[in-house]
Amino acid sequence: MDCVATGGNVKVLAKAIHSLSRIGEELYLESLEDGLALRSVNSSRSAFACFLLSPLFFQRYQAPSDQSFRCKMPIKSIQAVFKSLASLDRSVEKCRIQLDSEKNRLTITLHCKHGLLKTHNLSYQECEGLQAVFDKESCANVLQAQPRLMVDTVLHFPPSLEEVNLSVSSDRVWLRNHVEDDADSSRAMMTELCLSSEEFDHFAVGTQTSVTFCLKELRGLLVFADSSGLPVSMYFDEPGSPVILSVTDSVLEANFVLATLSEDSHPKKNHVNSDTKHPDTEQPPDDFMSDDMDSFLIAMETSELPVPSHVPTSPPRPTSNRKHSFSEEEEEEALAEGPPNKKFCSLFFGSVLPTPSQLPNQTMQSQEVLASDSEDENQTETS
């Protein structure tokens, strides 16, 4: 593998890496025919990001001849290569990434001004590919906005805020901080922003819906988008399906896939090769919450997060499928994103939407029935 990036693209590459560092601890690098893929996933597998740099991004792009090359390395070590971000475009003329398979080293050479040459030989680990399954096209709702709009919006939320709730109607978008039901509601600060559809470059709301996802991981993409000036597209469906944020231009495509809290208050994982299963909601919310925390704790202690051995071929999850059958072996892999908060979500959701008739069936159902029968809505999972 041998690729060369020049000029301003070196900084873009560096920014992509810094952006990925906000997601996970490791950088997965894959050299494909289509281009260079840089990916990262967080420890709880609830956030996945991928930057695909097409061969045109590079001055020279040479994929490995025999098969695609895949490796992973601690993201900090590659970040150190591009440490001084501010001076990159001033000092670096060319960046060359080469693979030395004999010595198991990835060599990154920065050709800088004044003849200075910086060579970094980084050790890596061979690994299997990392790919989340998602389908932007199948999402009912698509929004596109200038990065400035999103950055300015997100600015209103405290940096410590974990989760944010995004609700859409036919002509409006609301962004609120997500507060846990059990949190002391008298002390919690609630922030709500309402944006009209006119503020967006593209506003296509198929179904009025409300999704809750982690804001922290989103900020990584926003920083990248803001500096590149490219519009950010959001693809999402109903709660439980991941929200996909995308930044594209002719030579690069970035996708951030974030899990959302599902209607039954279980966070749905990105379908990272392993089907995520969650315990049934048969107990009343209070007991259930502690159960979930237990499984979360068990999972944290015992799980060795699997790296997928192949790109899963299962179709995108059917939209009405809300609950999964409990499976023992999978329990260890399922990690809760946060304590379930079903009651709060439903209530709030109900109070905001003006026309209940437009709500999809299952939402109304879950509003009335706190714990529904899993058998009714279950569809066979393909493994």
Binding site: I78, G115, L116, L117, K118
Partner: protein, 280 residues
């Protein structure tokens, strides 16, 4: 100015008086060698030499010529004492780091001789502070015996390019390896850290390279990162740096520093090579 109202009698007792209109011209350069708490002061007719040593392997010297001072009076051939450098720097910057142009701390440094404290009169905006810092018996600085005849390789670089390299050095590496060679890579800084190794190469024809003098042999020496990293402070202040190694592998780094008033001072670092068991 309040400092000049000192009685003449007092002034007669001092064997060393050094005054500066801008104390930063001294404090900045002392910060560049502040590796350790204790500094050995050696004042002569030529000026002030301040030495700091670390574990007998590293020595940093700052030279402030007599011409830099607005007033420099020395009544003996050589005046030597040792003070706590951290305390001295705290005193010199006692009025805080004011970067308002035109506002600076004036200094009058006085020393009575053996056994007496070092007295500092500092004034800013009409406020005068008097500091008396206890002095100790000066230790004899190590003589690294670095003379020009033993120098095998010498390189003079503009600090700008080295500053970037030093700020990016992989701190997980225990050593910094310096290679100087008549052929490629000419001048190379290498680190060997947890994530892999890194090399910074400066070609001899780079416009950052003011002088490149290398004997027929290439020399590669390793130095402990922990010893050399503090030299970054001196590098940050300097505009040029000379890197020399001698036949024993000892390293000499000399920094040309311009102070606030554009005057030139020198800082130098001497470092022993890291001797370790030869590993293949």
């Amino acid at each position: 100015m309040p400092l000049s109202t000192q009685s003449q009698a007092d002034a007669d007792q001092y064997i060393l008086i050094a005054s500066l209109d801008n104390a930063r011209n001294l404090s900045n350069i002392l910060k560049a060698i502040s590796l350790r708490d204790h500094a050995i002061f050696n004042a002569t007719q030529n000026g002030l030499k301040v030495t700091v040593e670390d574990s007998k392997c590293l020595q940093a010297n700052a030279f402030i010529q007599a011409e830099i001072f607005q007033e420099y009076i020395i009544k003996e051939d050589a005046v030597g004492f040792q003070v706590n450098l951290t305390v001295l720097l705290d005193c010199l910057t006692i009025f805080g780091g004011s970067t308002v142009p035109g506002v600076c701390t004036a200094l009058r440094m006085c020393y009575n001789g053996y056994g007496y404290p070092l007295t500092l009169f500092l004034e800013e905006g009409g406020v005068v502070t008097v500091c008396k810092i206890n002095t100790q018996e000066p230790e004899e600085p190590i003589d690294f015996d670095f003379c020009s005849t033993n120098v095998t390789n010498k390189v003079i670089l503009q600090s700008e390019s080295l500053k970037e390299a030093f700020s990016e050095l992989d701190m997980t590496s225990e050593v910094l390896q310096i290679t100087m060679s008549p052929s490629h890579p000419y001048f190379r800084l290498s680190t060997f850290g947890n994530s892999g190794n890194a090399h910074y190469d400066y070609p001899k024809d780079s416009d950052m390279m003011e002088l490149f003098h290398c004997t027929s042999e290439a020399s590669t020496c390793k130095y402990k990162m922990s010893l050399l990293k503090p030299s970054t402070k001196a590098l940050a202040l300097s505009c040029k740096v000379s890197v020399r190694t001698d036949s024993r592998g000892f390293l000499s780094l000399q920094y040309l520093v311009r102070n606030d008033d554009g005057q030139i001072c020198f800082v130098e670092y001497y470092c022993c090579p890291d001797e370790e068991v030869e590993e293949e």
